[in-house]
């Protein structure tokens, strides 16, 4: 009985810790979309999570509270209100800050290798796996024991 109670208490503790950790993100996400319709608001959140904050380079501008991120969010909001398309807004940012500003870089000759790299890595891994399996053979139990 007391053991189960302890478990529940632990789980509650962890849940509240998790909630607290999520709080900043939730608060920030609410900033900057005033005056937008529901559909525009969704576009705003989509776009701002796709755009990288140049100051704090591992955050999107949606997550970031840096001055520049706030400015760029204001730009996105403004341009949505002006009726510009998502692509036009992405292009606007890219013309000024380069590919780095996009978390999802465009597919073009310069970025082919970047986009292909996960598939290439998978191929290399499969190749190595296939070679090892072939070499070990089906009845070679010794190898399995040593690996485990």
């Amino acid at each position: 009985m007391s053991g189960a109670g302890k478990g529940v208490a632990m789980r509650r503790l962890w849940l509240s810790v998790l909630c607290v950790m999520m709080l900043p993100g939730a608060l920030l996400a609410a900033i900057g979309d005033e005056g937008l319709s529901a559909e525009q608001r969704q576009r705003f959140h989509q776009l701002t999570t796709e755009l990288r904050c140049l100051v704090c380079q591992n955050q999107s501008i949606a997550e970031s509270n840096a001055d520049l991120a706030l400015d760029l969010k204001r730009q996105v909001r403004q341009q949505i209100l002006e009726g510009r398309s998502d692509d036009a807004i992405r292009t606007y940012m890219r013309e000024r800050y380069g590919d780095f500003v996009l978390y999802k870089p465009a597919v073009e000759p310069k970025t082919y290798l970047l986009w292909a790299s996960p598939a290439l890595l998978l191929l290399i891994a499969l190749f190595i796996l296939a070679r090892r399996l072939r070499r070990a053979g089906p009845e070679d139990d010794e190898a399995d024991e040593e690996l485990s």
Partner: protein, 175 residues
């Protein structure tokens, strides 16, 4: 067969080396997509005198420096800018997100290396230039294209390796 257990360890070691090497590359300066393109527009000068200076700078190689009185690295690069101005390099100062009075006081106290000071209190022009943190310094060619961008304070390495060769190249064909 025993040798196999070393493979994950070696892979881990290689990864650590790779990540460590990645950490050494702390230059956060990003390549500017502006290079080779026409220089974006600047804030409108506040008076006719400033407008005249700005006009005269057109068709000349010049620096555009985004700075603010609240920006510490701007103070660090300030002596370099003063020296450049003394050597006759035209520097256009864009005062970024600053109070006019604070900027004026800063220039009074430390000296004014700028041929003209333009104001960008909202940082709107800075976005057009792709500025993401002051100070940033752009070299503009006589044909009004952006030749180079320096993020962070102007230092000896920049003057020696980036600015000087480009200025010499610009002077070269003309003489």
């Amino acid at each position: 067969m025993r040798a196999h257990i070393w493979i994950p360890l070696l892979a881990l070691g290689a990864l650590v080396v790779l990540l460590y090497a990645g950490m050494q590359d702390m230059d956060r300066a990003l390549p500017s997509p502006m290079i080779g393109k026409a220089a974006p527009s600047l804030p409108v000068p506040e008076n006719s005198e400033a407008a005249a200076v700005l006009n005269a700078a057109q068709g000349q190689p010049r620096l555009v420096n985004f700075w603010a009185s609240w920006c510490q690295p701007c103070l660090a690069e300030h002596p370099e800018l003063m020296a450049l101005a003394e050597r006759g390099v035209t520097i256009i100062g864009v005062n970024y997100k600053d109070e006019a009075s604070a900027a004026a006081r800063w220039l009074d106290r430390h000296g004014n290396p700028f041929a003209v000071v333009l104001r960008d209190p909202e940082g709107a022009f800075a976005i057009d230039w792709g500025v993401y943190g002051v100070p940033e310094t752009y070299l503009i060619g006589p044909d009004d294209t952006v030749l180079h961008k320096k993020v962070g304070p102007v230092d000896d390495a920049y003057l020696r390796d980036e600015l000087q060769p480009r200025l010499s190249a610009l002077k070269g064909p003309a003489s």
